[in-house]
Symmetry: C2
Subunit: 272 residues, 2 copies
């Protein structure tokens, strides 16, 4: 049994959706969370800069003796996972491969849509991971269509997660995605902020494609993956502790409950 915490980092507050899923999956493990709120968002930055920032985040977690690193940020997973894995003595789990596997399991047709930040989409990481993980007989019929949706992060942070404006923004993006592939049956939420918009995205997707669309949340897939990757904690020790760090005193404390689904003690400020 492990006495070490699990480390989770994200560019900001969004990764708390991963922590939420992780606390449900491994309730007795301690978790150290780092939100790089001074440099959020990663999603509009170049691969080189994203990699540099992600490595700094991981160094902070490794110094806290974590025995597993979860890269909650899809942009960092898509652009820096190889560098992160190479630099870590403990396993590193990104968002993309678990999300890709979950999408394949959900999609009968292999026509999969991915929405995320501009940097995640530009990396092509989801498409590569989905094709790599597909059974050989299915590879030829896989079709992955992607769209960057820059307004969805501020929309989720503003808390405008239902109603008219959220519906219209989601419809505009999904209609654009439908012009790329009208046969999509599965939609991957390729950004940790998007689970907050899952209800409106699910409803809008049904309208746009005129059928039920499976909506895949990478956060849940990552938590499942983590549960299989680690030694169990001592269940008699009670619920695991969540320690939270940020690189800038931001709105995290205000926004956290919305993403985490529970109150959060004031995060500690660190300089990377």
């Amino acid at each position: 049994m492990s006495r070490f915490p699990i480390g989770v980092f994200d560019s900001g507050v969004g990764g708390l959706t991963v922590v939420r899923a992780l606390r449900a999956a491994v309730p007795h493990r301690d978790i150290v969370y780092l939100g790089d709120t001074a440099r959020v968002p990663y999603g509009t930055k170049s691969p080189r800069t994203v990699e540099r920032y992600a490595l700094a985040c991981q160094r902070f977690l490794l110094a806290r003796e974590v025995d597993l690193v979860l890269v909650a940020c899809n942009t960092a997973s898509a652009n820096a996972l190889a560098a992160l894995s190479a630099a870590s003595p403990v396993p590193v789990i990104g968002a993309v491969v678990p999300g890709a596997n979950a999408a394949l399991a959900a999609s009968p047709s292999g026509h999969i849509g991915v929405i995320g930040t501009l940097a995640t989409v530009a990396s092509g990481a989801y498409e590569a991971a989905i094709i790599a993980a597909a059974p050989p007989a299915m590879k030829a019929s896989i079709r992955v269509s992607q769209l960057g949706c820059p307004l969805l992060v501020p929309l989720a942070e503003e808390g405008w997660t239902d109603g008219d404006i959220a519906e219209r923004i989601c419809r505009r993006y999904l209609e654009e995605l439908a012009t790329l592939d009208s046969a999509i049956d599965t939609l991957v939420l390729g950004c940790t902020h998007y689970p907050l918009l899952a209800p409106v995205l699910t409803a809008t997707a049904r309208t746009v494609w005129q059928r039920d669309i499976a909506v895949v949340d990478s956060a849940a897939a990552m938590a499942t993956c983590a549960r299989h990757a680690i030694a169990p904690a001592d269940a008699t020790a009670g619920p695991g502790k969540l320690s939270c760090f940020v690189t800038d005193a931001s709105r995290l404390a205000e926004l956290a409950p919305r993403f985490l689904g529970e109150p959060l003690d004031a995060p500690a400020l660190v300089d990377l």
Copy 2:
């Protein structure tokens, strides 16, 4: 006559609206522009972090022998102008004081609305500057109401500057501002991205307050202020040159023409 360039910095691409106004105001002066695209946006960061980043930007410009620094970023102007001025041997002009003066000149009633980033609004800098600049007899009747509008920056960057979604988002924000003061006659665009949304904000403000609202663009006010602050350039030398630097290879080249109103040579990448 000065042979030195004017330095302009912003957290990202938005400051090019100031460069556009500046090139119209002082067409023969060279301009050095720095967009801190690796750390954009400043608007959600703490005052301490904004100040640290802004000082680094200014050092870069001073090393290029500028004889005037324009802080195009409203967030940096609101949170770091005193520190920037103290650290500079040449004059520093921020966005807030010129914007405040322009608002006072435009507002018969003294009921002024300010929209900007969360950090600009939290600083209270516009309210302080407007009250400080008001004539003594008018001070008591000044009323400044502010609102942070986080969706407007990504909306401008996405290019969704007219149509249904832009109208609804602007209306939602301005209706919230109207609950703070139903007698506003002047609206300050307290962020360099907002001039792109000026038409929809002007139309929406008229609907919300049911009268014409004067919309004040800080970028234009800064350019006028700069023209009065500097020695003229040699007009016979032809049009001034614009040199552009960024801290991350971002969408700046793609977005620039929308903000600058003219094509832009590929910016050079620098590490601060």
